[in-house]
């Protein structure tokens, strides 16, 4: 199989996984162990960093809904957004029951997909 990710060239995918995915994640765990007991986790910098991290993951999630890979990309965008919004509404209404939210989204998505042929 040829290299599917041009942005990795000349990096190997495995090296990229170690350098750009594993290391930037593990380093926080190591710093946490080393600093444990010496830092206030309620400080303003943590509040800001957590907000940025949350927004970043949310931005990725939005892109996944707009441009998902594979066959689900053929479904209408409105169906995907509607299924996600309904799932989140059910999650909130059910007292934050994750299973209900996920099942609602999946049921609407697959039901809608079948109905639209």
């Amino acid at each position: 199989m040829t290299e599917p990710f041009p942005s990795l060239d000349p990096w190997g995918t495995y090296l990229a996984i170690l350098v750009a995915a594993a290391l930037p994640t593990q380093v926080w765990r190591w710093i946490g162990v080393v600093l444990a007991g010496r830092m206030a986790e309620t400080s303003e910098i943590f509040v800001w960093v957590k907000a940025v991290a949350t927004a970043l993951v949310a931005a990725v999630v939005a892109q996944l809904i707009l441009n998902p890979g594979g066959a689900v990309a053929d479904t209408p965008l409105l169906l995907r957004i509607g299924a996600i919004a309904a799932g989140f509404a059910v999650y909130l209404a059910s007292g934050k029951t994750l299973a209900f939210g996920i099942l609602t989204t999946e049921a609407l998505l697959i039901g809608g997909w079948l109905a639209l042929g």
Binding site: L23, R29, V33, A36, V57, A62, A71, F88, L114
Partner: protein, 256 residues
């Protein structure tokens, strides 16, 4: 304080060797929170497969990163053709929450003396599922039991997750598009709900909502660095609005 009545689901017998505690930790992998994690990892495998990652690469990401948001950010950024430094920065930002999480976790899990190397190794397995489990159950266990128990539980979760990722990557090929497509959409709804559930204030919830809109907006305005820009702008805006709301609430209480 070896055994509290509260820990009915995880009995903590008085005496066992470190290996015994490790084994007990492994056995706890068969639990409901672990099941939720495994199904989310199936969604990740579907995502990685659709993005063009091989089964080996997908398993390596699951094992060596072992943080679902970071895994998804890495896949999403790479598939969107962003540069490697931008990817590393985005992954680092999405994983920064491990710092406060580990800071809270370490005093619970660490042994009486020493154990620095063991703690550095154990921290690999700190993720949302194991963290919640450790923080709620381990205080009921004798201190000598905690680190081996956590490593058994955390390693068990990571190994089974990686196996689940590998198996589903292979099986997805034989699934009808309806099923694999449904699994791909598991990740967005799981994350929206999990991020909301993990929010600790207005800033976090605003960041989630603003980020959902900022992502596509930035993709149109500043392609190439769009996800990073969206995170920084939406996150900072959420932080500022959150601070204003907090100050206003405090002022309102003071006025009464």
């Amino acid at each position: 304080m070896a055994s509290h009545p509260h820990a009915a689901d995880t009995p903590a017998p008085a005496a066992a060797t470190a290996a015994g505690w490790f084994g007990r930790g492994v056995l706890n992998v068969f639990s409901l929170p672990a099941l939720v994690l495994f199904s989310a990892q199936v969604g990740f495998a579907a995502l990685a497969r659709e993005a063009g990652f091989t089964v080996g690469e997908t398993m390596a990401i699951a094992l060596f990163v072992y943080a679902l948001p970071a895994q998804v950010v890495f896949i999403g950024f790479l598939a969107a053709g962003q540069s490697l430094p931008a990817i590393a920065l985005a992954v680092a930002l999405s994983s920064v929450r491990f710092l406060p999480m580990v800071l809270a976790w370490a005093p619970v899990v660490r042994p009486e003396r020493g154990g620095r190397i063991g703690m550095l190794f154990a921290s690999w397995f700190v993720a949302v599922t194991s963290w919640v489990f450790a923080m709620s159950h381990l205080p009921n266990y004798p201190r000598a039991a905690r680190l081996p128990f956590f490593v058994g539980f955390g390693m068990g979760l990571a190994v089974v997750s990686t196996a689940v990722v590998g198996i589903s990557h292979v099986l997805l090929e034989r699934l009808p598009p309806l099923v694999s497509g449904g699994l791909v959409m598991l990740t967005p709804i799981y994350f929206i709900c999990a991020l909301w559930g993990a929010s600790r204030g207005d800033a976090d919830r605003l960041a989630l909502m603003l980020g959902l809109f900022a992502g596509p907006a930035a993709a149109a305005l500043v392609p190439g660095v769009d996800l990073l820009a969206a995170g920084l702008v939406a996150g900072t805006a959420a932080y500022i609005i959150g601070r204003v709301l907090k100050a206003r609430r405090a002022a309102g209480e003071a006025a009464q």
